[in-house]
């Protein structure tokens, strides 16, 4: 089977499992919504202030929810020794990485769409450029999913994986949080043209971690 076929197989399997178990819909999505709501209560009911910090709060909510989705992506491989079955199948480690990254990214994009509506309703933001929001969202999601999947496999075989994953991932993902927040500030009431340097940063980060993941995931998958 070609690499593309293996990627489709792994991504399809993960997405089918998530559609069947509904963990994203029933747990991750409500979690993201609650985070947004709590921020709204904690900061101020003053919508002007909330609108100003909405981009940062949106991406913090996405990041926290992403930790759950990434952890889940590897938890399903720990059930019943499924990981051994996948390793024995001979599927290339790069295909497992890309397949899992695509599945996580698809869930995050769905999450972002729903949370985006939540931000619009709760925080009363003005959208100045949908294009900026979409492009920045896709680039940031690709980087977040690729980095999360790469670090997820490091923590996968450890009993402390639930606490180790955030410790490993959060410092590394800082450029994505920074770039995505700045780009969203430009798309939500700011000047859209100012978003593109940040979007370029997000794109470069995504390409970097997708490349590192394709090369490094296989050995980590074997030995973690």
């Amino acid at each position: 089977m070609s690499l593309a076929g293996e990627v489709r197989l792994v991504a399809g399997k993960d997405l089918r499992i998530e559609a069947r178990s509904r963990v994203t819909l029933a747990q991750v999505l409500p979690f993201g919504g609650i985070v947004l709501l709590l921020f709204a209560f904690a900061l101020d009911p003053d919508r002007g202030r909330l609108a100003a910090v909405a981009p940062g709060l949106f991406w913090v909510a996405v990041l926290l929810a992403a930790l759950l989705a990434i952890g889940r992506s590897f938890a399903i491989e720990q059930q019943n020794g499924a990981r051994d079955g996948l390793r024995l199948s001979g599927i290339d480690g790069a295909a497992v990485f890309l397949g899992k990254t695509i599945a996580v990214a698809a869930q995050l994009l769905l999450l972002e769409v729903v949370l985006g509506f939540g931000v619009a309703v709760l925080y009363g933001v003005d959208v100045t450029s949908v294009v900026v929001l979409v492009v920045a969202g896709v680039a940031a999601t690709a980087g977040l999913a690729a980095t999360g999947t790469l670090f997820g496999v490091l923590a996968a075989g450890l009993r402390t994986r639930e606490t180790l994953l955030p410790l490993l991932l959060l410092p590394v993902i800082t450029p994505v949080m920074l770039g995505a927040t700045r780009a969203f500030e430009s798309g939500l009431g700011g000047e859209p043209a100012e978003a593109w340097p940040w979007i370029a940063l997000l794109g470069a980060f995504a390409v970097l971690y997708l490349s590192v993941g394709v090369l490094a995931f296989g050995p980590l998958w074997e030995d973690s």
Binding site: M1, E6, L9, K13, R16, I17, R20, S21, I76, Q79, N80, G81, A82, D84, G85, L86, R87, L88, S89, G90, I91, E222
Partner: protein, 237 residues
């Protein structure tokens, strides 16, 4: 003739513990090799080393001519391991798990459907793995192995949890393996059921393998690292 499996003085450490302490083992194509020995002797570790799931720390190991010290992945597409767990996903149905296993191994999804029928699991085809009984899961694990159409079938306590009908199916699969071009290495404590099927028995004790069965082998293919068998198993009457 080059053996399908060739191990020489293989050591495998689990942490600092030598789970395999110098195993020599040759397995020829078409053999059905029974691994016996007490709990903790290293049988499961030996099977996982053969599958390439565990690294070797000393010695030489070749499966299908691939050096496992260099590459533990190259031979995997041609083998299947039925271990203590099913390697299946709780939220996928029996049919979906089998089709995924077949396709992931480069086979057609139809190979999964054929394995479904062979293990008599058609009644559970659309039942999620998480809702199957322990015995049905065991059958599914066997079906997953067959869906991969392996040349080398590694079975670790395959009778565990199987009902009488399942044990008959398992016996048919093992006995018919040479005719299907398969070699089998199985570890079992169910000696009454497995000895009649085996072409050779290897005793694993303290991380070393030895033994012969049946006797006419020109030279004990398997021995401890020092060449002295730690135990000899006589043929079943």
């Amino acid at each position: 003739m080059v053996p399908l499996v060739r191990l020489r003085s293989v050591v495998c450490l689990l942490g600092r513990f030598p789970a395999l302490a110098g195993v020599d083992l040759d397995v020829a194509s078409g053999e059905i090799v029974l691994l016996t020995g007490p709990n903790g002797a290293g049988k499961s570790t030996l099977l996982r080393v053969l599958a390439g799931l565990l690294p070797i720390h000393r010695g030489d190991a070749e499966v299908f001519g691939h050096d496992l010290g260099v590459d533990r992945r190259a031979h995997r597409r041609d083998l299947a391991l039925v271990g203590h767990e099913t390697s299946c996903y709780d939220d996928l149905t029996t049919r979906e798990n089998l089709r995924f296993a077949a396709r992931a191994s480069g086979r057609d999804a139809a190979a999964g459907d054929a394995a479904l029928e062979r293990l008599d699991l058609t009644g559970q085809a659309d039942v999620a793995h998480g809702r199957l009984s322990a015995g049905q899961r065991r059958r599914l694990a066997l079906a997953v192995a067959l869906a991969r159409d392996p040349k080398l079938l590694l079975l670790d306590e395959p009778h565990a949890g199987l009902d009488a009908e399942g044990r008959v199916l398992l016996a048919e699969i093992v006995a018919g393996a040479p005719d299907e071009g398969r070699t089998v290495v199985l570890a079992s404590h169910e000696l009454d059921l497995t000895r009649p099927l085996a072409t050779r028995e290897v005793v694993v004790v303290g991380g070393r393998a030895s033994g012969r069965f049946p006797p006419p082998a020109p030279d004990p293919v398997v021995s401890g690292v020092d060449g002295a068998p730690t135990a000899v198993v006589e043929p079943a009457p």
